[in-house]
Amino acid sequence: MAKSLGPVKRKFSPWTDPSAVPFIRFENITKRFGDFTAVDNLTLDIYEREFFSLLGPSGCGKTTLMRMLAGFEEPTEGRILLQGKDISGVPPYRRPTNMMFQSYALFPHMTVEKNIAFGLEQDNLPKGEIAARVEEMLKLVKLETFARRKPNQLSGGQRQRVALARSLAKRPKVLLLDEPLGALDKKLREETQFELMDIQTNLGLTFLIVTHDQEEAMTVSDRIAVMDKGVIMQVATPAEIYEAPNSRYVADFIGDINILEGTVSTTESALGAPGAVRIDCDGVAVAVEQECQAVKGDKVAFAIRPEKVRISPDQPADTSFNAVYGEVWDIGYLGDFSVFLVKMADGRIVRAAQANVSRLVDRPITFGDMVWLTWPLDAGLVLTR
């Protein structure tokens, strides 16, 4: 039976349907600021009702990309299509997008109520309708009793909610969120992430979120685009990004991973299993069950997540491949997990993570112990990029 990747959040995958029409399309977008190229010939499709993340380190062009969609920046080259229409040259105040700013940008001289009503007033809606919509938004973010407060009379979490309510009040086709939870503490952030997902599903909106926090992107998104230096490295679901990164960059950026550089020594037939590769990583023989373009002699990287490496003081039956012997050099105890840094004879370090499933262990592994690290054929990945 064919195995598949990790958990699927919801049955929603318009990107796999070739007939689906993208809601937002960035087409060969380039943005230069003087000599600096912030976004480099980038093409990206986002679908209706999708929760999409732009993930990358600061300066990778993710915020610029979002600001171009909001209309604060114009692309140097290329065009942006919203529902098939080119929106180049349309000023921000005529675009059907709303943005939640990183700094929240609440108007300090207006009450919470007035802040939320601001966008609606610009559309010259009747007073009664504005009041009703404000009420509805306050209820949505659970701030009914704070309507008359000024922003500086609110806590950080409350301000974040007001900012969200204000950006949702006009029922935009696309909501842009620029590092929306950056200023909140961890507990509140996690809570809010789930609330955001609820709101997005219930209102049926398209969300585009910019973040440098990979955990946040993994939690909330349908798909993630990992960016680096103005280009997209990979666009995929969180599970694909984590379990099947397409490059060393993505593998290294998302989560923790061991990367061993090596050379392909044999491909498939020699190993028996279809689509398998053997790699020699400077003395560590690795076998991977993976369809792969690499041929004998190619320089590749073998990547494996620490939680997929088994650690044991006992020697495995077969040590000819996928086995590393070394000394426990350091231990990181995280409560739910422990991470063991195992140093091989040549000084390279491989990390193995172990879930602490029981409170008490017969024979705990400790500093200086000699241990064996092993992993099955399908646990690791061959990265050619």
């Binding site: 909001a70 105040y93 675009r95 108007f107």
Partner: protein, 272 residues
């Protein structure tokens, strides 16, 4: 303690140096004697004669109008100059322009006054009320520009972007978001401009004409004929104006500060 006695002495001397001339001026405005240097008992007569001195009253009225008009014009122009300097980071001649906005601050007033005069002569404009206003607007707008500029430096641009994003066109955004938030700086700029205009003798005397004698010019010309206690009286009233202004501003700032602290307490408690 010796050192604290020393401190007290120094402080007293400094304040005496600063305020004794002003105190003497105020005290002698209540002098019954006509001689400025001889105390002849308490009296309010100089305030009465000052009130009926038409020349002095006219000059005061001209000064008030010049002050209000030139401060208002200077504030409008100065605010716009500050906006363009802060907002348009790159335009040809920006460096020159931003340097030139500071120049009138250090320029000797004689030169500013003279150059304005030459301009009006060259353009064949009769000197009078409006030329004083134009001259005052020119030099006060620089002060306003600097005050407003420093406020705009710390202004969070994302507030304006948020307004645009919510469908508010740029001009409306300026009046609904930007202006209310920089208003304290604009008002401070106006007050500064008004005080500078009120106070100016040199530039005004170069550019004034018949029927547009400002108070400082009037006082100066009267003093040349000898100091009368009337002058003391009008100066005391001017000091009163400035003092009230300063106290009002400081009470305003203090109250804003207290409000901010109270707001923060409310936010921390999390409930009303």
């Amino acid at each position: 303690m010796k050192s604290s006695r020393f401190d007290a002495t120094v402080l007293t001397l400094c304040f005496a140096f600063l305020y004794i001339p002003i105190i003497i001026l105020i005290v002698y405005s209540f002098n019954a004697s006509k001689l400025v240097t001889v105390w002849g008992g308490f009296s309010l007569q100089w305030y009465r004669t000052m009130w009926s001195n038409e020349g002095l009253m006219d000059a005061a009225w001209v000064t008030a109008r010049v002050g209000v008009l030139s401060a208002t014009l200077g504030t409008a122009l100065g605010t716009l100059a500050a906006l363009s300097l802060v907002r348009f980071q790159k335009f040809p001649g920006r460096m020159l322009f931003s340097g030139m906005i500071y120049a009138p601050l250090v320029m000797p007033e004689v030169i500013t006054g003279l150059s304005m005069l030459l301009l009006f002569v060259a353009l064949n404009i009769d000197r009078g009320f409006w030329t004083v206003i134009i001259a005052h607007t020119t030099f006060t707008m620089c002060y306003v520009a600097i005050v407003v500029q420093s406020r705009l430096m710390t202004f969070d641009r994302s507030l304006e972007e948020a307004a645009l994003d919510l469908g508010c066109p740029p001009v409306k955004t300026f009046f609904k978001i930007t202006l209310p938030l920089i208003l304290p700086a604009v008002i401070a700029g106006w007050m500064l401009a008004f005080t500078l205009s009120l106070d100016d003798l040199v530039i005004a005397s170069f550019n004034t004409g018949p029927g547009a004698t400002t108070l400082p010019i009037k006082i100066y010309s009267q003093v040349r004929l000898g100091v009368t206690p009337e002058i003391n009286a009008i100066c005391t009233i001017l000091i009163g104006f400035v003092t009230i202004g300063v106290i009002a501003t400081s009470i305003g700032t203090k109250r804003a500060e207290l409000n901010r602290i109270r707001d923060e307490h409310v936010a921390l408690r999390g409930t009303t």
